[in-house]
Symmetry: C2
Subunit: 216 residues, 2 copies
């Protein structure tokens, strides 16, 4: 069966997956960009945004693997954009320009209905108003046997983790302390949820940890 996977999700050493005070200017929160430094320089990320060059190696391998065999994505609304409440119109189409780096169906969790938005390059944003289980069901169906990637943000990851729905996780722990922001692990007991470490590799930029949940 297709897995629900968290991949290439960056957290600080003090457990924050985003900085405080997210806004249009600071979509990752204040200081949040530093979480992702391990990824920005990789060949995979450069290519994603149409640039040449970038580094190969362990960080790039994890970045590349994070996109492998993904048939659909699930995003929280805050990751899709800064708009809260009812959609004033359908002008906001995500942070990523006309050709977003998903290239498959993306299911956005929201309380406010909106028609699907077809983008260039194979990405379609669907808006799901009936909760995380419904979004997962629709994403699984759309993925046609491939895996579903849970993109974020932190609140969405926490909901799926607490519901016991996440099958595997690759976290990139950046060697920084944010001090404040959105905490990924507070009150979440990963071993108790059945997660065991299946791999870990450190680079100068991040400690990569892969966790898999034992099915019982």
């Amino acid at each position: 069966m297709s897995k629900l996977a968290i991949r290439a999700f960056s957290v600080s050493l003090d457990g924050y997956g985003a900085g405080p005070a997210q806004s249009l200017d600071n979509p990752l929160g204040v200081g949040g960009m530093a979480l992702h430094e391990w990824a920005f320089g990789t060949r995979t990320f450069k290519k994603l945004f149409g640039e040449d060059g970038g580094s190969a190696g362990v960080d790039d391998d994890f970045a590349a693997r994070s996109f492998a065999n993904i048939g659909a994505w699930i995003l929280g609304r805050n990751m899709f954009g800064p708009i809260r409440g009812d959609w004033p119109n359908e002008n906001w189409k995500g942070w990523w320009g006309d050709n977003p780096p998903y290239h498959c169906p993306v299911f956005v969790l929201t309380h406010y209905p909106r028609a699907s938005t077809v983008m260039e390059g194979g990405t379609t944003f669907h808006f799901v108003t009936d909760g995380i289980h419904a979004a997962l069901e629709r994403a699984r169906e759309a993925a046609q046997g491939r895996d579903v990637r849970l993109g974020g943000g932190v609140a969405t990851l926490r909901q799926y983790l607490q519901a016991g729905l996440v099958d595997e996780m690759h976290l990139a722990v950046a060697p920084i302390f944010l001090g404040a922001g959105e905490h990924l692990f507070a009150g979440i007991d990963l071993p108790k949820l059945g997660f065991q470490r299946s791999a870990h590799v450190s680079t100068p930029n991040a400690t990569h940890i892969v966790l898999a949940r034992q099915s019982n």
Copy 2:
């Protein structure tokens, strides 16, 4: 002036400095031993407990450095032993046998007075009942210009951090999730306290981070 330093303090990726349910059988809490695996195999730790062999390299360098230029230690009572409340007698002399690995004055924070205990090898345990500032003052005096090392446990580190008294910190982040236990960072904003990263090195066993507080 002599610094107050936290060194070689192990934390999990989810921020725990000890496992849950500390007891006489599990002084580091359930699962807590795994935090320190990076250290146990090093030449420095082997030697500390009278054994030969052990590994050299980055982990060992950090282990060795953690004992360098230390003139006194401060420990919380829970790190000294499992006894709570009044001391029934003076039989408990720490977890470390007759010749503890301190070899200098050690100031133990407690609410219950007790006479100092002289051990083999230069270690003397002093019991301080008038708080963390008094303990630091006495430790600084005893250290005679060398640094004071804050040994733990988590609650004691948190008190000194929140009081703004810690000058530098070397944390060894073990690539494990404990899921529960004593959280080192919850509610503690290291950047706000003035800490900046001065070094970080990863090994297969730990990510070593050194933080120094800017004096302002």
